[in-house]
């Protein structure tokens, strides 16, 4: 009995050494992680970040509003006196509802609405996320790394 017990201890010890051999091989490899806040990885070409808009490209077709599964977008427009030109009165985006699916970007006929590369979206007040004015060109300026 004692012999088996001691043997098992030795076999267990040996298996630990074998496992350590695998980890030892990995010690000298290059680290695969990044020191995140210091080193930042560039986002990929198709990365889906915050919703962004080129206001001048929008033709007010309401397709993005209709496709959005979470009703995160809100668009309003008025027709000018000449009964032809339409003007956007409001175009807001609720980042707390958005699920970053990218369907609005896909359906937009003029590529006016798109998802940018922003991923650090901490705000001091969560109310700021509820209605981001997409018409303003200052929309993401205050966030570090914000583009557009």
């Amino acid at each position: 009995m004692l012999f088996i017990y001691i043997k098992r201890i030795f076999v267990g010890f040996y298996s630990i050494l074998k496992g350590l051999k695998v980890t030892f091989k990995n010690i000298f490899k290059k680290p695969v992680t990044l020191h995140y806040p210091v080193v930042k990885q560039p986002m990929k070409e198709r990365f889906r970040g915050m919703v962004d808009l080129y206001p001048e490209k929008c033709v007010i077709c309401y397709q993005c509003i209709r496709i959005c599964p979470t009703a995160a977008l809100d668009l309003g427009h008025k027709v000018l006196e000449d009964n032809k030109t339409k003007n956007i009165t409001k175009f807001t985006f609720n980042a707390e509802l958005c699920c970053f699916c990218g369907l609005c970007e896909e359906i937009c006929p003029t590529d006016a609405i798109f998802l940018n590369k922003m991923y650090e979206v901490s705000y001091f007040d969560h109310k700021d996320l509820l209605s981001i004015d997409l018409m303003s060109n200052q929309k993401y300026k205050h966030v570090d790394g914000g583009v557009s």
Binding site: K44, F47, I107
Partner: protein
């Protein structure tokens, strides 16, 4: 018999893989009975499906089994395509197979890593698995722009073609992963401590497995050769040559080993699919407004088992009813049977070997 007492494990517990709450009746260290309580992650996804158009619901399927979003997208899109008789271009079919298999690989990698961690192998195997998984996650990020919720597969095709150079990345990954599998075997599979902890623990017999309608790797580990990809081939699975690995004992170790074997088989499928991928445009151009009527049931082989979508349409823009049959839900059902009479630390081992995801259990 000493005094019985009840232990509440979870809902916030590192080894319950999400917000699962287990009510264990214990006699000392021995588990006498176990009662899983669900519902902490309930988001009424089935009801949401009734209020969204067919296209709008695809992002929500990402949130079912969030470790295998591609497979969920695929299952739902196949169900809608079957309901509305929509044809899929051949290139899209091949790409779908590749994406589904890559996702199976990374889902199994997470399962392997977390299982080793549940057995007390601290963080090393988990980080090794995540290091490998990261390569595919990065690739998916490049292909569809998401790292966890891919939302890539569309009704009638895909949201976009893969960028140039993807083939090479996948080929490199296959080569790399084959090498890694050897490392996993060295580090875990045949390690005597690992064997002592997981062999003959939580034995699921064939009969019990079938009675609890357990599916996926868990069923195959019990020795039942059942895989929807072979039994009811969808997409182009019938064109590929691959085996269905099965276990013999149905214990926790078998379930672990089977996942490693399945990774190898998935790599085989991907290899063949990459070689045979036809030219063409996989992007779905069909109108995003779908209408149809009738009902259909479509099941696919998810990494965790059989994922079924039952759709009823009444001619409107939205489905009348969408019932989701999720594999983890049925697999978890067998847990009380498996942990009876085990130590509490072995119960954690069994739970880890089930490889459940709460997202699709609570839905």
């Amino acid at each position: 018999m000493g005094e019985l007492f009840t232990v509440n494990m979870g809902p916030q517990h590192p080894s319950t893989h999400g917000v699962l709450y287990l009510e264990l009746v214990m006699d000392g260290e021995i588990v006498l009975s176990c009662k899983p309580h669900l519902g902490y992650l309930h988001r009424s996804i089935e009801k949401i499906a009734e209020n969204r158009t067919y296209t709008q619901f695809i992002p929500f399927t990402d949130r079912l089994d969030y470790l295998a979003s591609m497979n969920n997208n695929l299952g739902y899109c196949l169900a809608v395509e079957k309901l509305l008789n929509i044809a899929v271009p051949p290139r899209a079919q091949y790409l779908r197979v590749i994406m589904a298999e890559l996702n199976r690989v990374i889902s199994h990698l997470v399962a392997i890593g977390t299982f080793a961690q549940d057995l007390g192998a601290y963080a090393t195997p988990l980080f090794y698995a995540f290091r490998d998984r990261e390569k595919i996650v990065e690739l998916f990020d490049e292909i569809c722009g998401g790292r966890l919720t891919y939302n890539y597969i569309r009704i009638g095709g895909l949201s976009g073609d893969v960028p140039a150079g993807t083939e090479q990345v996948i080929k490199d990954f296959i080569k790399y992963e084959r090498k890694q599998l050897v490392e996993y075997n060295e580090l875990l599979t045949y390690n005597v401590i690992f064997l002592a902890r997981s062999k003959k623990i939580g034995i699921l017999t064939q009969e019990t497995a079938i009675n609890y309608s357990v599916t996926g790797p868990m069923l195959r580990a019990s020795g039942v050769k059942w895989d929807i990809r072979k039994e009811e081939p969808y997409l182009v699975y019938d064109k590929f040559d691959f085996d269905i690995p099965t276990g013999t004992a149905g214990d926790a170790w078998d379930r672990f080993k089977l996942k490693l074997d399945e990774i190898e088989q998935s790599l085989r499928i991907i290899e063949q699919a990459i070689g045979a991928i036809p030219e063409g445009n996989p992007v779905s151009k069909v109108n995003r407004v779908f209408r149809g009527s009738g009902e259909t049931y479509m099941r696919t082989e998810n990494p965790k088992g059989e994922l079924g979508f039952y759709l009823v349409a009444d001619g409107g823009l939205m489905p009348y009813r969408c019932k989701i049959r999720s594999p983890s839900f049925s697999n978890l059902g067998a847990l009380p049977e498996l942990v009876k009479g085990l130590n509490i630390s072995d119960a954690v081992c069994v739970l880890g070997s089930l490889d459940i995801v709460m997202g699709e259990i609570d839905r």
